[in-house]
């Protein structure tokens, strides 16, 4: 194993399998993500995209094979899971902001509570990131007072405040009204250009073409195809990929 050279892949998934009960949800997944890489994961609903990225910060457990993040192997008895989770940020489809905290408190919670960052520093940082996602003026509101697009941008800023090495996105625009999709995608594009390592589950093929280094296509719990966007969209190898692309690109 080349665990000794984390630079080769900040995330390494080798022969990973996952079952929900007797249901084989992920089959022999192999994926290596290097620092600074932008990966887009797509595939039909129920193909295991969410499950796969949730295994990366161990919101879900895998049963065989291996996953390592920044050289730390994920398993049931690990001690450093909190370290891994601080390094791997996640943005959810339904935002999952803390509704009882203001936007600013949502952003400072992580740094103050788990990294012991002093309040003034945490707030200054939070404001920087709020500005980065164009939402600084909403800092003192509660999540429930914001639109979906604004909430998702706050959620992205919240992840950024932890200064993660990798950001996972699980269909960040799927719960949004159409007119709000682009404001979130713009922020994500900005992040990608800034060199953030990202794994995005999304059906926004425009985004994939614009920023992805690689597109991963999943179906029925397997990675069916994987390649640079030009190849992936221009010359998909598998029949399932072609079917899928013809469906999503029609819209």
């Amino acid at each position: 194993m080349d665990n000794a050279q984390p630079k080769a892949g900040i995330i390494q998934i080798r022969g990973m399998n996952k079952w929900y009960g007797s249901f084989h949800a992920l089959k022999d997944i192999n994926l290596t993500v290097r620092l600074g890489e932008r990966i887009v994961v797509c595939g039909p609903s129920g193909s295991g995209k969410s499950t796969m990225i949730r295994c990366i910060n161990r919101l879900e457990a895998h049963q065989s094979g291996s996953i390592s993040v920044d050289g730390i192997e994920l398993h049931e008895d690990m001690r450093q899971i909190d370290v891994v989770r601080q390094e791997v940020g996640m943005v959810f489809q339904h935002f999952n902001l803390f509704p009882h905290l203001t936007v600013l408190e949502n952003l400072t919670a992580g740094p103050m509570w788990v990294k012991n960052t002093p309040r003034t520093e945490a707030e200054a940082n939070a404001r920087t990131y709020l500005k980065r996602v164009n939402i600084l003026e909403q800092a003192d509101k509660y999540p429930g007072q914001l639109s979906g697009g604004q909430q998702q941008r706050v959620a992205i800023a919240r992840s950024l405040c932890m200064e993660p090495k990798v950001l996972l996105f699980d269909e960040p625009t799927s719960a949004l009204d159409p007119e709000m999709v682009s404001e979130v995608l713009d922020v994500m594009t900005g992040l990608a250009r800034g060199g953030m390592t990202m794994i995005c589950v999304t059906h926004e093929m425009g985004f994939a073409k614009a920023v992805a280094d690689r597109v991963v296509f999943m179906d029925a719990g397997q990675i069916v195809e994987e390649g640079a966007p030009v190849e992936f969209f221009g010359n998909p190898r598998s029949r399932r990929t072609r079917d899928f692309l013809s469906q999503v690109l029609q819209h």
């Binding site: 910060n57 919101l59 899971i81 909190d82 370290v83 989770r85 601080q86 791997v88 940020g89 996640m90 959810f92 339904h94 999952n96 902001l97 803390f98 509704p99 009882h100 919670a109 992580g110 509570w113 788990v114 509101k141 509660y142 429930g144 007072q145 919240r158 992840s159 932890m162």
Partner: protein, 321 residues
Amino acid sequence: MLFADTVRNRGLHEKPRIILALFVLSSLLAWWAGGGAAGYAALFPVREAALGLLGDLGLACLLGAAFTANLVLISRFRFRLQVLIVWAELLTLFLLFFLAFDLSFPFILKKLPYLITQGAVTTVYVSAISIAIASVIAIIGAVAKLSSNGFAFAVASFYTSLFRGLPLLVQIYLLYLGLPQLGIYIDAIPAGIIALSLCYGAYMTEVFRAGILSIPAGQWEASRSMGFKFGLTMRRIILPQSVPVIIPPLGNQFIAMLKDSSLVSVLGIWELMFLARTLGNKEFRHLEMLITVAVIYWVLTILFELVQARIEAYFQKHRKR
């Protein structure tokens, strides 16, 4: 209030047939009750003139008509006025019921200050301390019952099963009589507080469990994905959000405890019920004291309901944000 319709529903009180039926029914009831009730004769001296069957019936019809007219009239008022009038009427009836007992008011007035400064104060502070301890027990119990740790679950479920399964009075006796057998001596007040806390902690475990379960899994996922540990997530994310869910049943439990604390009077704690019994016994005025503490309990409850309504309104407002 429930989700109100914008179109008014035609009430029963607007249907002549129903009004007629109500009148007939209430008249018959008045007639039947008037047959032997001494209170009826006292309230209406006319009857002593022995009006005969016709007079009796007339009187009953008059009462029935008054009752029905009252209902129809009240139904025309605005909501708040309706509430006010009906409360006033029912309260009057309730007081009339007490008046029928021929109570000695000087005796009540003489004992009232002591009943309040000693009895009510003890009742409230024993209950308040107990509810605070019970809440702590309940949080621990709820977490244990939701835990995947078999040991924690077993202990917690045994505890809730036992303390919900035994009558509170039995628990109090067991604590007070049983512990000295083991060589543990505790004073009456701590014993009472322990009994109430343990019993209500068991009930409230379920309240907190439901409150914790009412928070969507996404909150756990978000917390976990940021590296929050279990205790931190519980303290800063889950419990604060379940407070609005927990407050109404918690208020209920506190009100129930205010009254169940009367059971610790068997330990000789000088709370309301104990004082009522001892003061009443001394001068053979049981009913006076019983009725007085009944009213004090009720007033305490009303006061606390008002406090609870304020707390709920506060959280309601904050939830909308």
